[in-house]
Chain length 335, copies 2
DNA sequence: ATGAAAGCGCTAACAT
DNA sequence: ATGTTAGCGCTTTCAT
């Protein structure tokens, strides 16, 4: 017994109304110039009148391409990734691809789960926001023969395409900037301690060691970053190392939170304590005093990722590559 | 001539390896208890060994259900919506649904485009973050016979399910709180001026009028909200109405930006000027002074939206409803 | 320029 | 408990 149709308007409905076969309608949608003008106009009219919405699942099943790309970010609420997302989204949309977003909660296991899910949805490519993955995730990606872009940080062994910046070099640069500015008892505070934060910490150590300074003033926690945590970490540090004259916070949220805590304590920034953040979020340029930070090219990373993946989707051969997008130090009022 | 297969592992491959038919494998995945234990174990082993990933497009095409729900938010970077998103995501994931997110950029035309796109992807339902849509979008949604939840604000004519809070009443409540606290020359500053902001403004007017106070101190702009804009609007207001003793900012970003501007001007908050925001973002509880604000139950809205849509997806009949999730006023140091 | 036929990988319906 | 058959809506291939 035939299963009843879903009631949705299909290519066949358009075809019948116009009096052509459904291949012609399909063709009209994909290669309008291959259909005669008269037929084209009538098809377009029918589509309009019937409110036809193509069934992408059927299209994808048949063609093997879904015209969608998965973008996996650690966190939705972290504004750091929303800029990357915008760049990716814009670039891919222009090329006719839909971006499907997922968030991993900073967990590579969750990333693996999402890769599996999106493979099941038949995405044509992946943009990941890290270079660290489970073995299984890597296997899945390799077998799928899909273009993959790993973003944010750089790696020597990209799965495929890698677009980011050297987090360690950036950490070192901000450390050096603080040293150049005359600070000598420089602390580091970090939350979450994901790979990128660890790299920034290593960079900070590089800078201090190279200058012969102590790297003992280091306060870290696995807890997720927040404004309040920035305040808490700063308080703990002031207690342990009252002589500290500057702090590099692993990200801008912590830096802003630390600044608020200084205000609460009536501690003059930068007079009594200098503060620096990382990423260059909007808030760093709005507080009083404004915050010194490392500006990361998040939008550009997203755009470049989109550009490269589109190239591949349009047929360019696989060619593992690494793209260093650099960073800028913004020296502001807090140092 | 037969088209060559995609090379992907399919149900058929599993079936052949185990020596059963593919329906049995399919059944094993969906209703394991209906398959004999021995066969089940062998199927599970084959799936593991071959790294089988089901093709959801084929499944959805065949069954008419994609096990996915679209969530449309105005902005990815606005943390207001990330809480909603978490609630939705969590609830839907538990029920076995994947959330596909899109952002409209506060444009109902873009919303319409996304509704079209996600209908093409065959989603089983929609969570929207407004009650305002284009006529065409409403038509599309009605014809699709899919569960739809409109969130954030309340409406008298829900498309289907409506979960939110009365933005106008909330605006009035914060206005009244300021009046109760003794302020009399109360300003309003608003950005973007989307529907919700307009409602908050109307509520603020309600409160001031009811108390016989002037509503002239109102500074608005269509520009998108940001910390810096909060500072700019405040500056403009101080210039126009130097006697102003309190400002209700339409959201927390503006309020924080206004606070930073006060710090820059060495204006004592709340001594010389009181500030209030809207939403209850983390930052309002981190600044110095902390910010008075309206706490909106964003997480709860998301969870409730998920709960209700899952009910419908599991067969509950359509039953238009409105769920007022309320709000709380947090009186903090800035007033 | 247009169409007929086959098939993408899966599930629903109906046997056995 | 398992299998057979048909078909979801589209695109591809090949023919006209």
């Amino acid at each position: 017994m035939p299963r009843r149709s879903t009631g949705r308007v299909t290519l066949q409905d358009i075809a019948e109304r116009v009096g052509v076969s459904k291949v012609t309608v399909s063709r009209c949608l994909r290669e309008p110039q291959r259909v005669s003008e008269t037929v084209r106009l009538r098809i377009e009219e029918a589509i309009e009148v019937l409110d036809y919405i193509p069934n992408r699942q059927a299209g994808a099943l048949s063609s093997g391409r879904s015209l969608s790309v998965a973008l996996l970010v650690p966190s939705i609420s972290n504004s750091v990734f929303s800029e990357v997302q915008r760049g990716v989204d814009e670039g891919l949309r222009e090329a006719g691809y839909q971006v499907l977003m997922g968030h991993t909660g900073y967990s590579i296991l969750e990333e693996e789960r999402l890769i599996d899910t999106f493979l099941a949805y038949g995405v044509d490519g992946f943009v990941l926001s890290s270079t660290r993955h489970t073995d299984h995730a890597q296997r899945l990606l390799n077998r799928a023969h899909l273009p993959v872009v790993e973003t944010m940080e750089l790696t020597d062994n990209p799965l495929d395409i890698n677009v980011g910046l050297d987090q360690r070099v950036a950490g070192r640069a901000i450390g050096e900037a603080l040293i150049t500015a005359g600070y000598r008892r420089i602390g580091f505070c970090g939350a979450r301690l994901d790979y990128r934060v660890q790299q920034r910490l290593a960079g900070w150590e590089d800078a201090l060691k190279a200058a012969g300074l102590s790297t003992q003033r280091c306060q870290t926690t696995p807890r997720p970053s927040s404004y309040r945590l920035g305040g808490e970490l700063l308080s703990a540090m002031l207690e342990r190392w009252p002589d500290m004259d500057a702090v590099f916070c692993c990200n801008d949220d912590l830096a802003a939170g630390a600044l608020f805590e200084c205000q609460r304590r009536r501690l003059d920034v930068p007079g009594q304590l200098a503060l620096a953040g990382f990423n260059g979020l909007d808030i760093t340029d709005a507080t009083w005093p404004t915050l010194t930070t490392v500006i990361t090219p998040r939008r550009a990373i997203g755009e470049q990722a989109a550009r490269l993946i589109v190239e591949r989707l349009q047929g360019a051969p696989r060619n593992p590559s690494r793209h260093d997008m650099g960073f800028d130090i913004a020296l502001r009022q807090s140092t």
